[in-house]
């Protein structure tokens, strides 16, 4: 498992690996929002948690088709499927590698970008917490979508359409945690639900991903 993780991380950070793509996209979205909605700081403060969450979600979405499609194209996926590693473990490791190269940088960058949107002081901690808990679910759901569309050439559009509805609960609870945190309200309920969504997807989706991958590899 470690071998696959190390390889995926190496591939991501080397030339053409797509590391930084999500981060750059996140930066662009957040930087452009104040230009689009105007410099009214009160308005920006109100929408900041939601914008940051949408930016993070779309940045995650952008790199999903790389999770499995590249391995499918060069034949590695067939070879990994016949290797001693169970396919469930392989897709879990791939989701983890995706989170480490896409989700984690977003979590780290979010507070910096919060400044650009005039996020309230109380909100930074909860923004980071909500993203740290929510983005793993985005990676795991995204891996499931990638497994569903792995047989399709240029399946990015279909992948986005399949995955977006599954992302909605994560977005609702994640943004709610960030918003309530920024406004100084209790975050217990959305935080518990966000945690439940993440735990549930991490526990169940690798099995679904492995099952659809087996069908798609036939």
């Amino acid at each position: 498992m470690k071998a696959l993780l190390v390889r995926d991380l190496k591939l991501a950070v080397r030339a053409g690996g797509g590391f930084g793509l999500g981060l750059a996209f996140f930066l662009i979205v957040v930087v452009l929002v104040p230009f689009a909605v105007g410099p009214e700081t009160a308005l920006l403060t109100r929408i900041a948690p939601g914008i940051l969450w949408i930016g993070a979600l779309l940045a995650c979405l952008l790199s999903l088709d790389r999770i499995l499609a590249l391995d499918r194209e060069d034949g590695s996926l067939d070879l990994i499927a016949t290797a001693p590693l169970p396919l469930e473990a392989a897709v879990s490791v791939k989701a983890l590698a995706h989170w480490l190269t896409t989700g984690l940088p977003l979590v780290i960058a979010a507070p910096v970008l919060g400044v650009l949107l005039n996020l309230r002081g109380e909100g930074y901690g909860w923004l980071v917490v909500s993203l740290a808990i929510g983005t793993p679910a985005l990676s795991v759901i995204g891996t499931f979508g990638a497994a569903l569309t792995v047989g399709i050439k240029r399946g990015g559009l279909l992948l986005s359409l399949l995955v977006l509805p599954l992302y909605v609960p994560v977005l609702i609870f994640g943004a709610e945690v960030a918003r309530r945190g920024a406004e100084g309200l209790s975050v217990a309920t959305p935080l518990a639900l966000l945690g439940a969504v993440t735990c549930g997807t991490i526990a169940l989706l690798p099995f679904a991903s492995a099952a659809v991958l087996r069908v798609n590899l036939r």
Partner: protein
């Protein structure tokens, strides 16, 4: 260990391509599959490799003893030759990277990014992967494509060493490898009558 295939029927896209395939392969022996393009060699090998379920029949093969090599080598262009091999060696927990590089004369290329290799060199790297898996049964699909005569010799030597060590190999190839192998022409297992959905209406 023995590979026994009984009355195996394999399908591609829901259509049977081969039916009633039977063979028996003992330790130290190789089986060469022949047949025209599209005869079902790749489908048969993928079924043996466990990538697709058989339509019927039985394969007695421990999946944990088998390694599959396809048309595509699964090489990552941005990793070096050695890193590519090291990954598979770590995955299979066999430390034989040095020997594998040597067997396919890849030593001088070890630090070169795999993307900079020629087609034949890439194929050699793909075949060197077999040696770092430590698996007893090799299931190989057209392993000699884009290899020159010298590299085919290296490959034949590697297969002979593998067989001498008690391994098995099932190889689909059109090239004479100079192996003492049984030859199986898959064309004779093609279904006599093509089953189509229209039959129900007749």
């Amino acid at each position: 260990m023995e590979l026994i295939v009984e009355d195996l029927s394999v399908a591609r896209g829901g259509m049977a391509v081969l039916e009633g395939v039977c063979f028996r392969l003992a330790c130290g022996h190789a089986l060469v599959l022949r047949g025209p393009n599209g005869a079902g060699k790749t489908t048969l090998l993928r079924t043996l490799a466990g990538l697709q379920p058989p339509r019927g029949g039985r394969i007695s093969l421990d999946r944990e003893a088998m390694v599959y090599a396809a048309h595509a080598d699964g090489i990552k262009a941005v990793l070096t030759v050695e890193e590519n091999l090291r990954f598979w060696a770590d995955l299979y927990r066999v430390d034989a990277v040095g020997a594998a590089l040597e067997a396919f004369a890849l030593g001088p290329l070890a630090d070169r990014p795999a993307g900079a290799l020629s087609a034949g060199q890439k194929r050699r790297l793909g075949l060197a992967r077999l040696l770092v898996t430590g698996r007893r049964v090799w299931v190989l699909d057209e392993p000699t494509v884009s290899l020159d005569a010298e590299a085919v010799g290296m490959f034949a030597r590697a297969v002979r060493a593998h067989l001498a060590g008690g391994g098995l190999a099932v190889i689909a190839t059109h090239i004479e490898l100079g192996l003492e192998a049984e030859v199986l022409d898959v064309a004779r297992f093609r279904p006599r009558r093509v089953v189509t959905g229209d039959e129900d209406f007749l």
